[in-house]
């Protein structure tokens, strides 16, 4: 019983993050993952279940940029979504 409740908690938290991404469709996001290529900067296009679809501007590897990437939300270590209030995510050049 306790186990099940905990499982529910985990699911609800995942769901909440997913909702948060959904709420911010069309905004720019900065994401770090442990897995390669480690960093994504781009615009949130849509959220499909627990996958966020990004228009990627920048990653750590130039060849992977300017493309659409789908990122599993569970594997996002940290993120920052640009809104009108906080600082904007820098445009990386060079």
């Amino acid at each position: 019983m306790q186990k099940e409740r905990l499982k529910m908690i985990n699911e609800r938290r995942h769901e909440a993050v997913t909702k948060h991404f959904k709420k911010n469709v069309n905004r720019r996001v900065f994401i770090l993952t442990q897995a390669f290529p480690f960093m994504f900067i781009g615009k949130i296009k849509e959220v499909i279940e627990d996958i966020v679809v990004l228009d990627v501007e920048t990653t750590s590897v130039a060849e992977l940029e300017g493309k659409e990437w789908s990122v599993h939300i569970d594997s996002i270590s940290v993120f920052y979504i640009e809104t009108n209030i906080g600082p904007s995510i820098p445009e990386l050049k060079g």
Partner: protein, 1214 residues
Amino acid sequence: MKRKYHVVAIPIRIVVNTFGDHNPNGMMYVLKENEQKVKDLVKKNPFTPVDLVEPLVIRANAGDIVEIQFENKLPFHTGMHFYEAEYDVCNADGASVGYNKDSTVAPGDSIIYRIHALEEGNYFFADLGNPSSSKNGSNSNGLFGGLCVENRFSWWTDPVSGKPMNSGMYADVHHPLLPSHREYVWMFHDEMEINDVTGNRPINHITNQEEESFHGANYRYEPENRRAQLISEGVVCPNCVGEEVHHDSWVFGDPSAPILRGYVGDPARIRLFHGGQKETHVFHYHVHQWFEDPQDLSSTIVDAQAISPQSHYTIDPLYGLGSLQGSFGDIIIHCHLYPHFAAGMWGMNRIFDTLQDGSQCYPNGVPIKALQPLPDRAPPPKPTKQKPGFPNFIPGKVGNKAPRPPLGIVGGRDMTELERHAAIEKPRPGAVFTDPCPEETPVKEFNVSIIELPIIYNREGWHDPKGRIYVLDEDVEDVCSGKKEPEPLVIHASAHTCIKINFTNRLPHILDGDAFQLVTRTYETGFHIHFVKFDVLVCDGANVGWNYDSSVLPGETIRYSYYADVELKAWFFHDHLFPLSHQQHGVFGSGVVHPRFSEFLNPATGEEVDRGTQVTVNHPLIPNYRDFALFAQDFTLLFDKDGKPLNPPKFPGSQDDPGLFGVNYKNEPLQFRLGKECDPAYSFSSFTHGDPVTPILRAYAGDPIRIRLLQGAQEESHSFNVHGLRWLNERGNLSSRLDCQQHIGISESFTFETFIPRPGDYLWAFETEEDLWNGLWGLIRAYKEKVPDLIPLSDRPMPMKQSRPLPECTGKKPPPAKKATLLPAKGPIRTFDIVAFQVPITYNDFGDHDPYGIIFALQEDMEDILQGKKKAEPLVIRANVGDTVDVTLTSKLKFDLFPFKDGIYPYPEVKEQAFYPPSLRISLHPQLVDYDVQTSAGETVGFNGDQTVGPGEKRTYRWYVDSQLGACGLWDMADIRNHKSQGAFGAFIAEPRGTEYVDPYTLKPVRSGANVILRNPLLPDVREYVLLIHDGVRLLDQNDELIIDPIDGILLPPPDLDKEDLVDTYDQGSRGFNYRCERLINRYNKNPVLHKLFSSIVFGDPATPVFEAYTGDPVTIRLITPAERRRSHTFHLHGHRWLFDVKDMDSRVESFVGHNVAGGLRNLQLLGGAGAIGGYSGDFMYRAGNIRWDLEQGMWGIMRVHKEIQKYLPPINE
């Protein structure tokens, strides 16, 4: 917690062995409580080793503050400088650096050093009050020690008494949560002054010349010469020669050298330090393996590890003492460099299988000291009459050579009654007291012979008339008849194989004498193996301690058995009975353990094979690959075609750097590759001179490859570089950094796993000047189209049919390479206009200078440099990951500005000096970045087109920065004799994407320079300091007299200094950082106060870079060794530490970088930034760890960390 020690530096006579060899002027650190005791004991025992005379080892726990009251009783200022620790540099540096307060101690005075031991580890300490490398210095005489920092909450006891202890090299360390373990300190050191009982230098009893210098561990050594003398005097072992019984306790009893004692299965930790001052040693420990980085389970497993002066490593043998198979007996530990090994640099790990309570004796009647069992392990059984335990069941005869093992020798003896009791249930040949092979393991059997035959090394007829090699029995005839080229034996097997070797000794009894060597009766030989699991008593292929002598006589066959438990890299094998005499003739080989289910094919025919230096490997699951093995060799004893010995020693039998070099029994010296044009720029060109005779590793473009790098002989460091390819430094760790260079010492083994991105010829080279000059280079050739004698890999696309004939040697200049800019550029393009020109370089304010410097510079800076408005510095350029870099190189070299137009460069010299006129062509070769070797390697190699530029010519190279590489070296490849040590090198730094680079003083953007601030929108602002280590420099002093460094730089040289014989060719020349060196001798001549030589208060700042920062500023040091000689350098920065691998958070933390040699690269992010985690300020010295001969010669500088804002130095993020 706080831990206090009272340490005294005292003069002491150090007796290093029972033969009475001693250092009359020894110096040591000792705890105050032992000072009088040790003095009294030494007085009573003037010719016998005294246990208390050992390098001081004290202990603390991680997190402790260690407070040391240090008292100096030596007649000059001394101190204690700690590696790895954090401390206030102004009070506890143990030195007098820059504008810091002097923290050395005057004779008779004392000081308190307070240091913070942040993490577990080996904290080496040594004196910096007297930096002389001569016998009048402190370090060579023993003034060093170790602070072992244990895991938090540990405590330690004496292994004999079980009582708490305050100091000592061996301790049992306990912990409430972790297993108790044996802790052994192994402190290599070298070049100590040694006299014999008569007070004279020891004499070699065979050559009647002075013995080799001291090479030992823990203030002890056990030279072969001394032991062999007892044989020649008829005291022991009639009919023995010497080398084969050097380690035999049956003949001589136990050595004075360290014996590390434990029970089978005990967890153990060897804290390995290099307290010596000059040589890079290779620590080898039979039977055991360990992680190169004990904290990182994905790091490489090694069983031999190079260690350069003042560096240190932790060795945690996997599976505890005796390894996985639970072997027991005497396990030798030694420096694998044979001249050092013979000189006495060895000891043993003695693993008992029965309890030692002090009541037992060795076979010679010497009592066995008690050994406490570790408290958390069941004690081993007590010895009984039937089972007396090791070594007392072995049927040896004291005073005679160890007996041969039972069962092993074909037609040999069975077991004795006692042996039967000691043996396992089902003993078999090669596995009597432990069986490494699990039941049902697939067996692979090899019949190996050792033979003697002449070997021709190159087209000029250089040859070794007495080559000695391992060969499979089935190949003996073909190799002897010339049908098959001799090459080092490489056998192949898959993991989880029980390997059986039937080894036959087909050597003649006698190794004949010649200009290099005296006649030696090398009548027995063995097959000693690394890495695999085996029973050390019977299968070591050696003769160690109280073990059996597991070698065989001529005509006999012995059976060995090993288990390859997991995929291993190439395991090394060689002889352990007469290696000093004949390993350099070719007695080495390798077994490669591939992944399970591998199949090995002859790359030319596709037939299945089980040996060969080049094989193609098929695998059902992982990508197929090409496997190449390369063996470096030195002390290669060659004669030219007329029988003239090449570089013979002064007298036969001398170990003073005789002979030349080889790789897989071949070499391709550059002196024979000048051609009609007499232009060194084409020496590597196959168009001009044909392919080299050295190995050409063949593949198709795109093929995965594995390079097995080994060194088969004999004493020296080598630096392996591949141009245009790179690999993960730790093969099993994807977070590891990329590398394209590897330092190697004898017996080390490395696997480089990579692939060949494009067709073309890739240069591999042992790339120090003398190695390259004498022919240690070859090619990796990647074909674009199908060639008849190379099978394609079956899982790769079939190469296209050959559409054009392969290029051939024309004997003429190579055609120019295609334009690099025809290839598409990726990302933003950064362009650099670089000129190469000659300009005098001033190395310091004392007027030491190179009037014939050759440098690379940005075109826009050339005029200013020529006019002296800008100082000559090595060119450092930068670009970001994702950038394409177009470098256009122009040569402005002028023939008249070369010093030696006759083509002989007189000093620093190389072995086999020969005509090699200066080239007016020049090139720029980059490390690590991605490029097409056919257009942008910055060199003219194989059948690639010409990429060098002549006077007035231009060529553009196109490089792509595809990864976060950090430091990359740049250098010329057109003339390795007349350009590089003169300054033709620089650095390229690959920075994170989006980084801008600004001058630290003006904050204006810069395009070059060694000292910049990096600014990146997502990363902290970082101060970046680029340090280029280089040596082999020819300097003149202010009177234009040639400086014969290192000799001219020695402080307090003794009057009897043997200038001529002191240095090897590869020690010759001056050295420094970034075209600067602050030679201490200049300072000493001005103001002869030894302990103040680093002081800016007395002398002003050094000429070497003084890098400035504020406390806490993030700092990255890019350390690059572009040039040039084989002697490796240790780098150390006081008071700071960094990750061994900048890309891997799990990697070990260090305050040094070991064995820097040509091609070496490292990126050091200082933990906690400038001033370290503790946030200290002051002058932190960066320097070489080699007291001999780097520090005196000026390899040091300062990182200045300010606490308060300086007007001229804006804060980093202003």
